[in-house]
């Protein structure tokens, strides 16, 4: 077993490798291997794996790439991530990718798929329309057809006919992956000092750019370390971060929240890897149906899923409660419609429910967060004071 610092360093290197080196190596190792890029948030990676492909998440360039070409494509009042994604692609960072998937999350990502088509990037470009109808016989069937299209594109490249056995095998691997990730969050809920949110972030994000088998191996080792008494508890409040599911804040900001006096006990940074709650049945003869049903019945709430039958504010409130959090930090990428349009819904409900929160906006390429740090610090202090007052009253 590798040491925890070594594992974390390995994950950090993988997570921010804008050349996507691991996927290049993987592809070069065998003839017929297919690399498929997917944009945030969620994609059923199982099907790409089953088709002999490697799904690789493209989260933009963060604060590590100077954007030149991308700015020519996007007005100043559009979030930052599409310009950095297209910049990466046009600069050849992803020239070993065979195809690109654009999950239906917002109009920006949707229209970006058109720009990829226009620029003839990859052998295929697919906008993946996730169903907004949640009846398995309607939305579920449509979703299965969407997955079939993706499989068809991959088959055109590598000729591989995917069997139920292949899919079940992949589903099982991703079940393990989800379980291990969930385990990390559960440990952190109780012992958040055992690993910082920054380190956890590296470990999760690395998993979006390497084969799932390798990630599972890393996760097992990390979990084994986390299960030991490591680190020292500090006097920090517990918070949940919500709204940062697509364009990612710079790592400095992720770090700053904890440095300012908070333990982040849940978040949606890597929502895609945690979208499905629990296992997908890995033993049916209709695995695509199992994946579709899992999406319909076992999805985490998301800003891109019509939620009126299962309102997101109560779901987030439940996470806050289950994690024993003291409050919520709403972090939205600037100009991020889905996140910003959800904000009034959450905030109104949380005012009524008495859940404390703060909110701020960020941009992936900005790494100055003095003001945000102060804001988070004040939030943490106010909660601590409130707790002290409460203790006094009770005493």
């Amino acid at each position: 077993m590798n040491s925890l610092p070594k594992l974390i360093q390995q994950c950090k290197d993988l997570a921010f490798d804008l050349q996507f080196t691991r996927s290049r190596e993987w592809k070069a190792q065998e003839e017929g291997r297919v690399v498929v890029g997917y944009m945030p948030v969620y994609f059923p990676r199982e099907i790409i794996h089953a088709a002999g492909g490697l799904p690789v998440a493209i989260f933009g360039g963060g604060d590590r790439k100077q954007i030149i070409k991308g700015d020519a494509y996007y007005q100043s009042y559009i979030c930052h991530i599409p310009r950095s994604i297209i910049d990466l692609a046009l600069d050849g960072h992803t020239n070993h990718f065979d195809g690109y998937l654009f999950p239906s999350i917002c109009d920006v990502i949707r229209n970006l798929s058109g720009l990829f088509k226009l620029n003839k990037l990859g052998k295929f470009v697919k906008y993946m329309d996730f169903p907004q109808n949640f009846l398995p016989e309607i939305g579920g069937v449509f979703y299965q057809q969407e997955m079939q299209h993706v499989l068809h594109y991959i088959k055109e490249i590598n000729g591989k006919e995917v069997t139920a056995h292949d899919l079940n095998h992949s589903i099982a691997l991703y079940n393990t992956n989800r379980r291990l990730i969930a385990r990390m969050y559960d440990i952190r809920q109780e012992f958040p000092w055992r690993m910082t949110i920054e380190e956890l972030y590296y470990v999760l994000r690395a998993g979006t750019v390497i084969p799932v088998e390798e990630h599972n191996d890393i996760l097992e080792q990390v979990v084994a370390h986390m299960e030991k008494e490591i680190g020292e508890p500090q006097d920090k409040i517990k918070v949940v971060v919500s709204g940062a599911f697509c364009e990612q804040p710079a790592v400095g900001l992720i770090k700053a929240i904890e440095e300012a006096g908070c333990y982040v006990v849940d978040d949606d940074y890597m929502l895609g890897s945690r979208m499905i709650l629990g296992d997908i049945d890995p033993s049916t003869d209709k695995p695509l149906e199992a994946i579709a049903n899992a999406y319909i019945h076992q999805s985490q709430y998301s800003s891109s899923i019509y939620d009126v039958h299962n309102p997101k504010e109560y779901r987030l409130a439940k996470i806050v409660q289950d994690r024993g959090a003291d409050g919520v930090i709403f972090a939205s990428a600037s100009f991020c419609d889905p996140s910003l349009l959800d904000a009034p819904i959450f905030q109104k409900a949380f005012d009524e429910m008495g859940i404390r929160y703060i909110s701020f906006q960020y941009s992936e390429n900005i790494n100055q967060f003095k003001v945000i740090k102060e804001q988070v610090g004040a939030f943490s202090d106010s909660i601590k004071l409130w707790e002290d007052d409460k203790a006094l009253v009770i005493a």
């Binding site: 920006v108 309607i138 939305g139 019509y306 939620d307």
Partner: protein
């Protein structure tokens, strides 16, 4: 004089229709009529009429409020309630209006919805908007029909089937439940037949810009022309009559060799013919228009007039396949087309209507339109070797309309067009 009277007739017809709708809404609760909130892109007008419901279009209220200078206060109100400065201002204007008592642009109260029908065509914000409204109107029945995006530039049978299943198993049963009216397919077919007729007429109307001078402005006046077909009258005899009348008036203008009518009368000389991508600004609509007609610029086609349906490529509501027709209609609205399709459509307009230039009016708060517009512009410039221009404004937030910026940009653009025209004329002489 004769033309004036004719012009007035179509306008009178339209005014009657709009006023009639607001009056009906005003008395809806008294008369026991059910009210359906829905959006323009992908509006299922014929189905709403089949169930004898009255439609409310939140974005129409928003734009009309903006034209009446009421939107700024509503937007401020919404922003006080945690709505971001950076999201679609239609949503904020609507939410603000609701928070202030839901008094519509005509001063009449808008009744609460019995149904929130989200056909969710071409824009994610619609979904968020209705999530917000659902929380404000907890008693309304929510009906969602997911319209797949034309990601590959086609409407496939499976996409249509997905929508038809939703119509059959969710939308129609819920409408039956709320209205207590049994679904009558024959009635729907009759409405669809009338829709088809109106669609033929409106296509012919927008096609008249082939003439030189163009008898109409297909953007600034076009937004009025699309009114009836978009706000719930598609599928009625009234709409057919309106379009027939309008077409007749335009034919008369062509016969007389007249250009478009502007708020300050006839446009005298057509100097530039343009195609515009993007919605207009509503808060300063007249000023905005004036910059163009003062320069002798007429818009011969615009993408905005296609948000409620793209008819120029031949698609029509087909009464013999009623549910399929509804499905295809939704999928075929402009913002549900992928970026290459949008480029093809605009290129076709530029060529067919012999435009001299292409302008993008980029709307700050509308990602559905704006995200990708720069790439589209570049592609059109390369493909057609046409001068392109770019301006920025907003739909209903007056803070983002900078008259001097827009005017300066457009003036430089028109100078460039003038120079180009001179050079072309010069080359033609010496060729």
């Amino acid at each position: 004089m004769a033309q004036e009277a004719q012009k007035e007739k179509s306008m009178v017809l339209q005014k009657e229709m709009v006023e009639g709708l607001f009056n009906d809404l005003d008395s809806a609760k008294e008369k026991g009529r059910k009210v359906c909130y829905t959006f323009i892109p992908g509006n299922l007008s014929e189905l709403i009429r089949t169930f004898d419901m009255l439609p409310v279009y939140p974005e129409i209220n928003a734009l009309q409020n903006a034209m009446r200078k009421k939107s700024a206060a509503y937007i401020r109100e919404a922003e006080k309630h945690a709505h971001s400065e950076d999201v679609c201002t239609y949503v904020k204007c609507d939410v603000g209006m609701m928070l202030k008592g839901n008094i519509g642009p005509t001063g009449q109260k808008i009744p609460e919805p019995d149904i929130l029908l989200l056909s969710y065509t071409g824009c994610f914000t619609f979904m968020k908007w209705f999530e917000t409204l659902k929380r404000e109107y907890p008693n309304a029945t929510v009906v969602m029909i997911h319209t797949p995006y034309q990601e590959n530039g086609v409407m496939t049978p499976e996409m249509t089937q997905y929508m038809v299943k939703q119509l059959k198993e969710e939308v129609i049963p819920k409408m039956e439940e709320v209205t207590g009216i049994k679904f009558d397919e024959e009635k729907l077919r009759r409405h669809l037949e009338l829709s088809r007729e109106a669609e033929d007429w409106i296509t012919k109307i927008f096609d008249t810009t082939k003439h030189k001078p163009s008898p109409i402005d297909a953007y600034f006046a076009g937004v009025y022309y699309i009114g009836p077909i978009n706000i719930g009258f598609r599928g009625t005899q009234q709409a057919v009559d309106y379009y027939k009348e309008l077409y007749g008036e335009i034919q008369e203008r062509i016969r007389l060799g007249l250009g478009p009518i502007t708020p300050e009368g006839e446009m005298k000389e057509e100097k530039y013919r343009l195609v515009v991508e993007g919605p207009p600004n509503w808060t300063n609509f007249r000023e905005f228009w004036k910059i163009f007609y003062d320069m002798g610029a007429v818009i011969v086609a615009s993408s905005y007039t296609k948000v409620g349906g793209v008819y120029d490529l031949g698609w029509r509501h087909d009464p013999s396949r009623p549910l399929e027709a509804l499905a295809e209609y939704c999928m075929n609205c402009y913002t549900n087309l992928n970026i290459p399709q949008r480029i093809d459509l605009l290129s076709k307009c530029i060529e067919e209507y012999q435009a001299d230039g292409y302008i993008t009016n980029s709307i700050k708060s509308c990602n559905s339109f704006s995200a990708g517009q720069l790439g589209m512009m570049r592609e059109i410039e390369d493909r057609l070797d046409i001068p392109v221009g770019f301006i920025e404004s907003d739909l209903v937030d007056p803070r983002y309309f900078s008259y001097s910026n827009i005017k300066n940009r457009l003036e430089s653009y028109f100078q460039m067009l003038a120079q180009r025209k001179m050079m072309e004329a010069h080359e033609a002489i010496h060729a």
